[in-house]
């Protein structure tokens, strides 16, 4: 990419924002907290993937999906299926009545691996499936909805119903999916223990790296013509349509992109936390993911990352010490973010902090410039 292209993609203020986030995630946090907490932060960051996707769909495009948990779950389950198959090698599962299949299948009287589990023996297939299956699913939903001009509230309700359907399906089909417990007891990735501290560090940095890849893609989309069209669609869909654009295609694309981000987050969740269960797929987690995005600021991709971190950190802290308070706090957060600060943390920052910082910088520069001038005057006098 040329230098000028880079400048338009990352204007100075955005570049500073990215750099600050990178310093916090790559240097400050790993040095400041122990591995247990760092692993937790890694878990929060997996939600940031979803939140960034939601900024594109909801903040830019105006499409509110209440079913992002579906894509998060599909990605997570894809990863979990691969790890589970590796953990259930015939040697490990010799005590089962059918060795070589995952333990929950054995408990549910399955005697052979279902067909859709077979390809997950391959890591290459798994990695591809993690991104492609949710994107394809999002594409199908997107084509069905947006081509028929279903949007707004109806889209939200239907995606929520899809989340409900998938959860019920996973819980109901215990033999194929692990039921309500999910897929647990994951041990190794190609023979490498994923539960060691070393692995946790590596996964954390991998997670941060992938997050920045997603952030870069999101930034590219927002700065491109597509991003401007999305905003135009959000504001006045009909005018974009009358200008000759096929609105639905843009919506489908951005919805698929959001789904792919969520799926990567889900896969990283499985790797870092070591299980996947339907409690991360359903209606409640899906709507919580929206609140991460809303708290961070629905228009800011960096804000979404901070939103996911802050809300999850608050959730962990509050529900550890005051479990009853947490639902109140969460409820109040939903209401406050809608009523009082609809642009979230990013909005607060650009309203209150940014002018202050700018002014400080200005006076700092002016002060330095003034010194130079004063020196010049002094030279002249001599």
């Amino acid at each position: 990419m040329s230098y000028a292209g880079f400048k338009t993609l990352f204007p100075k203020s955005d570049l500073i924002g990215f750099a600050v986030l990178a310093v916090i995630l790559v240097i400050v946090l790993p040095l400041a907290v122990d591995i247990f907490r760092l692993n937790l932060i890694g878990k929060y960051l997996t939600y940031a993937f979803v939140a960034v996707g939601l900024v594109l769909c909801w903040g830019s495009g105006g499409i509110l999906s209440l079913g992002q948990g579906v894509f998060f779950g599909l990605g997570g389950y894809g990863m979990a299926m691969f790890l589970k198959l590796e953990a259930s090698s015939p040697e490990n599962t010799a005590i089962q009545s059918t060795p070589g299949i995952p333990d929950f299948m054995d408990w549910n009287q399955l005697t052979e691996l279902p067909w859709f589990w077979e390809p997950f023996h391959s890591l290459t297939f798994t990695v591809l499936a993690i991104v492609l299956v949710p994107s394809l699913f999002a594409y199908i939903i997107g084509v069905a909805m947006f081509k028929r001009r279903v949007g707004g509230v109806y889209f939200a309700i239907i995606t929520q119903a899809v989340a409900a359907i998938l959860t019920i399906l996973i819980i109901g089909q215990q033999g194929y999916t692990g039921g309500v417990n999910g897929i647990t007891d994951l041990r190794t990735l190609n023979g490498w223990d994923i539960r060691s501290d070393e692995a946790k560090y590596i996964f954390y940095f991998l997670c941060v790296f992938l997050l920045f890849v997603c952030l870069g893609v999101a930034q590219y989309v927002r700065k491109s013509k597509l991003g401007r069209l999305l905003v135009a669609m959000r504001e006045m869909e009909d005018r974009v349509r009358f200008s000759g654009y096929d609105v639905s295609n843009f919506k489908i694309f951005v919805f698929c992109l959001g789904a792919a981000f969520a799926a990567v987050g889900g896969a990283m969740f499985t790797l870092q936390v070591g299980f996947m269960s339907p409690t991360l797929v359903g209606i409640v987690p899906s709507i919580e993911m929206v609140i991460f995005c809303a708290v961070g600021g629905r228009l800011s991709i960096l804000g979404a990352v901070y939103g996911a971190l802050v809300v999850n950190w608050a959730k962990t802290t509050l529900s550890e010490s005051f479990p009853e308070l947490w639902l109140f706090a969460m409820g109040a957060l939903f209401i406050a973010v809608v009523m009082a600060f609809p642009n979230g943390l990013a909005g607060l920052y650009s309203k209150y902090c940014e002018p202050y910082i700018k002014q400080k910088l200005k006076s700092f520069r002016a002060g330095r410039g003034g010194d130079v001038m004063a020196e010049g005057v002094a030279h002249e006098r001599q």
Binding site: L64, L66, A144, M145, R148, R149, V150, G152, V153, Y154, A156, I157, I158, Q160, A161, V162, A164, I165, I168, L169, I171, G172, I283, V284, I287, V290, I291, A294, E324, L327, F328, M330, G331, A332, L333, F334, I335, V337, V338, M339, P342
Partner: protein
């Protein structure tokens, strides 16, 4: 899946499951009516609707306890008092919520969704703190117990019949209110054209508040009816909210008749399939069917012909 049963058995199964479906239908109708008014008429997504219903259920539970402790002789009639109290409690809370929250958000429907979801979390936690996390049930009066034997195999529970007649009565009242009363005309005119309705002298803010209150009040009555057939816990309402929204959307958001028709279709499909498949599979298939239809016909079964 039908091969294992004889024809007469199949008929009885369909009759029994059909009746069980009718009870589900009644709950759906009662919940969806309130939601259809709020969502269909006002365009507000009330995610806390289930919690308004549970409020009604808890009010009924409290009333039944009061009657059992202080007026055992009148216990048989407690339900009617409870229903009225539930309507008032849920309606009053609804009007308060409209005043405090919803009226600021009429132009942002997706934001009402998030705000009312927050409200539902708060209400759930309040219920949990006040009534405990365990589910509570009411004692049915004697005249609602037992069942009527229709044939050798088919029998119908009396409380089911009662809930059903309740649902029908309330639907009729709502229909009359919406289509025959002066207030109904005001509501519909505000929905169709808010500035114009205001210009001809309708107090639109007041109409909004009353409409929201009525929708929530009906949810409270639904909660009352709900205690007849199940027990109540802090999160019971959330279990129904997605189904109810689908009922409303499937029926065509602005049509009361559509709401009733779709509640009937969904509940019957679910309960008939439940006998042959597992409960979860029948629910998945029903929801998939509804979502599929909605993709083909986004405006729902019955839609108003409005030129936009």
């Amino acid at each position: 899946m039908f091969a294992d049963y004889s024809t007469s058995e199949l008929m009885s199964i369909f009759a029994m499951q059909g009746f069980a479906g009718l009870i589900l239908f009644s709950v759906f109708v009662l919940m969806a009516l309130g939601l259809a008014i709020i969502f269909g008429q006002m365009g507000v997504i009330n995610m806390a609707h289930g919690e308004f219903m549970i409020l009604g259920a808890y009010v009924t539970y409290l009333t039944s306890n009061v009657f059992a402790d202080y007026m055992p002789s009148l216990f048989g009639s407690y339900f009617f008092i409870a229903m009225i109290l539930a309507f008032i409690a849920a309606g009053a809370l609804g009007m308060f919520v409209e005043w405090a929250l919803i009226r600021h958000l009429y132009k942002r429907p997706l934001d009402t969704l998030l705000a009312t979801w927050g409200l539902s979390l708060i209400l759930q936690q309040i219920y949990r703190s006040v009534f405990g996390a365990r589910e509570v049930g009411v004692t049915l009066p004697d005249w609602l117990m037992g069942s009527i034997q229709l044939t050798d195999i088919v029998e119908v529970p009396i409380n089911g019949i009662f809930v059903m007649s309740l649902a029908i009565t309330i639907s009729l009242i709502v229909a009359i209110l919406m289509y025959k009363s002066r207030w109904g005309i005001q509501v519909r005119s505000v929905v169709q054209n808010r500035p114009m309705a205001g210009a001809v002298g309708i107090n639109t803010a007041r109409v909004d508040r009353l409409t929201f209150g009525l929708g929530c009040g009906i949810a409270g009555v639904a909660g009352s009816a709900f205690t007849m057939i199940g027990s109540t816990g802090p999160t019971s309402g959330q279990l129904y909210i997605v189904d109810t929204f689908l009922v409303v959307v499937f029926g065509g958001a602005q049509s009361l008749l559509g709401t009733i028709a779709s509640a009937f279709t969904i509940s019957q499909a679910q309960s008939t399939m439940e006998f042959f498949l597992s409960g979860s599979m029948s629910k998945v298939l029903t929801l998939l069917f509804v979502v599929g239809i909605l993709m083909l016909r986004p405006q729902g079964l019955f839609s108003l012909k409005v030129r936009r």
